[in-house]
């Protein structure tokens, strides 16, 4: 199949259809609008349903209703919209409903800006919803990678009975790159015998619920969920290493920022400074194991984000005090340029 040139957002939308999405519910917000616009046009042609909701609150609850009845439902939004959806995220996780949620991040807090940002790392990995839950979060760095993660997302959601986040940002959503859509690998998926579809008089009624008033039973449920999260963490955590061999400095960055950091690393290499990158492809589970295999040459770690420092918390937890962990970030919708990162690194390493 030949590659076609597509915007990141549109590639995600097409990948959703190819990944088996049956229902999309969403509410307009920049910079993700190309996703609903593409699906409004293309999803019905593929036999699916597109519906614009009255709010993000309604959209996520429509996803909940569709997923509860066996649909392969998704929504997409951007930071403030995702904040509104957090109630639904907690419910989806609690009721174990397979679903896919795209966050094309923009600058915050508050209404903030429509420019790119990564200040939703906490929202994506800690959540704003109540209770003990975790959500599998994929963080692509290229349009191609986004398409592949999205194509696999619905199967993974069904496999684990969990909501799945695709964490993009305004830059990745708006940029155009060549992309191809290979056939997705076939996966044997469990039957949705739990879904509320009408019992047809042939079985006991199914109930999708999150209320568990008995503390003992709720604790048991929580322990069972934790067991599932541990299983997901053990299997799904992913990262990429870039030029880490013999690096004296290891950087950590994800998504769009990781691409910029790679340029900085190449610039440093030209000057004989050996730096490498660990790029988390999943934010939760965070690929902590990557930091167990640091090269012996590594003296320090630098996390770079389009935020005031969020993922750096997880890097510090993973490094666990073995090495100093520094942070460099831009926020408010400003995209760092490779040269400013290089300059910062030189100061950090005392090479000015």
């Amino acid at each position: 199949m030949p590659k076609s040139l597509m915007k990141g957002n549109e590639a995600l939308a097409l990948a959703a259809i190819k990944g088996g999405c049956s229902h999309f519910f969403g509410y307009p917000i920049t910079p993700q609008n190309e996703i609903p616009e593409f699906l409004a046009r293309e999803l019905p042609k593929a036999g699916g349903v597109f519906l614009q909701a009255e709010s993000e609150l309604a959209a996520i609850n429509m996803v909940y209703g569709a997923a509860a009845t066996g649909g392969r439902a998704m929504t997409s939004s951007s930071s403030p919209g995702i904040a509104l959806m957090q109630e639904g995220m907690s419910s989806l996780a609690a009721a174990e409903l397979p679903s896919v949620i795209v966050n094309v991040q923009r600058g915050g807090p508050g209404i903030g800006t429509i420019q790119p940002s990564q200040a939703d790392y906490y929202q994506m990995t800690r959540g704003g919803g109540n209770g003990d839950y975790r959500i599998l979060s994929f963080a692509p760095a290229t349009v191609q990678e986004g398409a592949e993660m999205m194509m696999a997302a619905f199967d993974l959601a069904d496999f684990y009975r969990t909501p799945v986040f695709i964490v993009s940002d305004g830059m990745l959503g708006q940029m155009m790159e060549p992309v191809e859509f290979p056939e997705r690998p076939l996966r044997t998926l469990p039957e949705k015998s739990w879904a509320a579809v009408g019992h047809g008089g042939s079985r006991k009624p199914n109930t999708i619920k999150t209320l568990v008033l008995d503390p003992g039973l709720l604790e048991q449920k929580n322990l069972r969920l934790q067991e599932k999260f541990t299983r997901i963490a053990a299997t799904e955590s992913r990262f990429e290493n870039y030029r880490t061999d013999e690096a004296e400095l290891v950087l950590c960055a994800y998504g769009s920022t990781a691409r910029i950091v790679k340029n900085s690393i190449d610039l440093l290499a030209e000057e004989g400074i050996k730096a490498g990158l660990i790029r988390p492809q999943t934010l939760w589970p965070f690929p902590s194991s990557a930091f167990q295999q640091l090269p012996p040459t590594c003296r320090t770690i630098l996390t770079v984000e389009m935020s005031c420092g969020q993922m750096v918390d997880d890097v510090r937890l993973a490094v666990n005090g073995r090495l100093p962990v520094a942070f460099y970030g831009r926020s408010g919708g400003i995209i760092p340029v490779p040269e400013e990162i290089v300059a910062h690194i030189k100061v950090l390493l005392g090479r000015v």
Binding site: T69, H199, K209
Partner: protein, 248 residues
């Protein structure tokens, strides 16, 4: 000999947690009876709301989804869009529907979603212990308006049926009550119509049922029936606010 009344097959054997004399029990039973009579028990997806009725999924013999507070209409929309041929309904209290969930109920009607909403108006928040609802009557004493609802401070109670009837996508809106046997029989007919219009693909229907909350009102179950009749019905007149013919 004929059995005039026996417990509906639409109800499970579980005893309800409702307070003695709470008419939630009557309304929920009417839903069960109607679904049984229409032969829909196996083809229905119910959406329970947050409030005293949250556990309806334990009492109705159908597949059900619990919804977050106020969101049942959105959840029902998701379900109906996946299963256009199944019967989908919401069962919501007045805090749930008329306060936290106003956007969802207005827009489910606005889209003309082919679902049925049973709206239980008891003029109070029952489950959380008797706080003021948007439907609490002027002067009615509730825990968050201990001196009685002051309309200068909190506004006049919301008339949901009148409001929803204005929306083009709503095809059938009726307010009924369950304060005596005749009212109960009539309420059942209204609920039945709501489901029949859904089956006929007409659009959104809402049946508002005036209900008691003896515990929240601080009255005996029997006195609550009288209070409903004397205080609620004058402010919330019973009747049909919209029919499919008018909706055309």
């Amino acid at each position: 000999m004929s059995v005039i009344f026996a417990k509906s097959k639409g109800l499970t054997d579980q005893e309800t947690h409702y307070c003695p004399g709470c008419t939630h029990g009557i309304i929920q039973r009417l839903v069960a009876e109607v679904l049984e009579e229409l032969g829909l028990l196996g083809d229905t997806i119910g959406c329970a709301a947050v409030g005293c009725s949250i556990l309806t999924y334990n009492y109705l013999n159908i597949d059900m989804i619990e919804s977050a507070h106020g969101r049942a209409p959105a959840v029902a929309t998701g379900a109906k869009r996946v299963h256009p041929n199944k019967t989908v309904f919401t069962y919501q209290g007045d805090g749930d529907l008329a306060s936290i969930g106003t956007a969802e109920i207005v827009h489910v009607a606005h889209r003309g979603e082919k679902i049925t909403t049973i709206f239980v108006n008891n003029a109070i928040y029952g489950m959380t212990g008797g706080q003021m609802a948007p439907t609490t009557l002027p002067g009615q004493k509730v825990t968050t308006a201990p001196g009685g609802r002051d309309v200068a401070h909190s506004g006049m109670p919301l008339k949901v049926s009148e409001m929803i009837a204005q929306i083009p996508g709503a095809v059938y809106v009726e307010r009924v009550s369950v304060h005596n046997p005749r009212a109960v029989r009539h309420a059942k007919k209204a609920i039945r119509k709501g489901f029949e219009y859904q089956m006929a693909g007409k659009g959104f229907s809402l049946i508002e049922v005036l209900s008691t909350c003896p515990t929240g009102w601080g009255l005996s179950p029997v006195d609550s029936l009288t209070w409903l009749q004397e205080n609620m019905i004058p402010y919330y007149p019973l009747g049909v606010f919209k029919t499919p013919e008018e909706a055309k």
